[in-house]
Symmetry: C2
Subunit: 303 residues, 2 copies
């Protein structure tokens, strides 16, 4: 294995404003969210997932989705997807002018049952009308597959289940798939096993990996993904978000840690790491727990 | 790259009692150190670096080296090396009955100058008599090469410098080399570049990698090392030790995080991860800062 087989360019999808803030316990002021996203905008991301049009009763942290979405400066070359769980959410999203959405299901039946009280098939049926609306409006769609490497309820998740769900989402017309290690249990051998299976049903440039760093393995999993030709990785500034299944533990892979590794490896992202640090430093005082990014802590200790 | 080319067995060298405790600010009671090492002993490590026979004036945290070394239960199959900086230290170590030592230098002139006020050549000259004493007594010797991936003073460290120092240590008769990322700046491409260079002058089974997780890249670097055939990795229970060059940031790779990844990959270590967690939990209240192991935090949040 030598570094010349690795991708030379990677797209980092910043999910902090959505996946990060939806899993922090406090409700952050709308103006602070907008400023956080503006600072991320200045870092040069090609994709920032800015919010979720979920039911405000289910996730009060993101009840201001339309307000946040509308306030974000549209930077040329950047896409601002939002999460959409159902038809009502899609109607709100379209009314706000959304041009890119994400839908979600999981690879574990136990997880969809516990999390959204549906079978996987029911969850896919629930967003089928959303997909039709998206197609009619020319809105791009990303499909999240949660618990692809392990489930807090059923434990092991077979790679065959991930491929099966992925195929269903592709058949429905998703443009991109994001394969998530929701509880941060994955190890690199799982990535080495799963990615080739997925690559047999979808082009590599439509596959994203979404790791959580709950047990410290996220960057090793990213390396395994890079070695398999993956060029899209999700992360959250500062590591915002925590792990809802292990309160106090780390959740989302920190964007800073991901960028530090990629840039160190000579892999271009187009993103200014210092500007991400600035965004995380802006966010930090709005949260009740410290951000988990190791890079952020290292630069904060020496500067 | 498929997982069947990876090693099936790895030796983890637990350095917490030495590299961890020497870099914590508090002086821990001798009895607590001994109990910490006993708990590590129960986890089944083949190698535990238990202390350093440095000058007590230089590192008061380890002034009780002889007392700690003598109290440790000798478990069959386990080696208990100690760090030895010079002839005086070696005399004390031999008097205590030590059978395995480690000596240290660095790949960066700026680092040895700042850290031990010597050139690299002078540092090697300083432990040459130690090596002779070791050979005469049949004591095994590990050679540490610090700042092999970057230096807090000079920045970049050329891989050629690491190979040059490694060759000198091999010529002096060290049994094993441990290549250290002292400030936790390494990225996997550096490992992919450096290991083959070292493998051209030493058998792979004499090469250990010693990563710090200051910027979160340690396990990705371990994966790169595994893929290059490395089978010896250093780590510290709980991530004890911090980073002396970035106070508040992470230092040593946590043994728990390393074991979680290795075991998840089906790579045998012979070590009981739960028993390491127990050792870290014993140590934690003796330290003024929280341990940094992400695995430890995850299990502590859910148990």
């Amino acid at each position: 294995m030598s570094s010349n087989v690795l991708p030379r360019k990677v797209r980092v999808v910043e999910v902090g404003p959505r996946d990060g803030l939806q899993n922090e316990s406090e409700i952050i002021a709308t103006a602070a969210k907008i400023q956080f996203i503006e600072l991320l905008n200045q870092a040069g991301f090609a994709t920032i997932e800015v919010t979720s049009f979920v039911s405000p009763r289910a996730i009060p942290q993101l009840a201001d989705a339309a307000q946040v979405y509308s306030a974000v400066t549209r930077r040329p070359g950047t896409t601002y997807p939002v999460l959409v769980p159902n038809r009502q959410g899609m109607e709100r999203a379209l009314a706000a002018g959304v041009r890119a959405i994400a839908v979600f299901t999981a690879a574990s039946e136990a997880f969809t049952q516990a999390n959204i009280h549906m079978t996987i098939a029911e969850s896919i049926a629930a967003f089928t009308p959303v997909m039709e609306m998206a197609r009619a409006e020319g809105v791009s769609v990303r499909g999240y597959i949660s618990t692809a490497f392990g489930c807090p309820y059923q434990g092991v998740v077979a790679p065959e289940s991930v491929v099966d769900v992925a195929q269903q989402l592709l058949d429905l017309g998703v443009d991109e798939l994001s394969i998530g290690d929701t509880i941060g249990v994955a190890t690199p051998n799982q990535v080495m096993d799963l990615v080739p299976r997925l690559a047999s049903i979808a082009d590599l440039d439509r596959l994203a990996l979404h790791f959580h760093d709950t047990r410290g393995t996220a960057l090793a999993n990213v390396l395994a993904g890079l070695e398999q030709g993956i060029t899209i990785f999700d992360s959250a500034a500062g590591g915002a978000g925590g792990c809802p299944y292990a309160p106090g533990a780390a959740g989302n892979l920190a964007t800073e840690d991901l960028l530090y590794m990629l840039h160190g490896m000579g892999i271009a992202t187009g993103i200014d790491l210092d500007a991400v640090v600035a965004a995380s430093r802006y966010l930090a005082p709005h949260l009740s727990r410290p951000l988990t990014s190791k890079y952020l802590r290292a630069v904060s200790a020496t500067h």
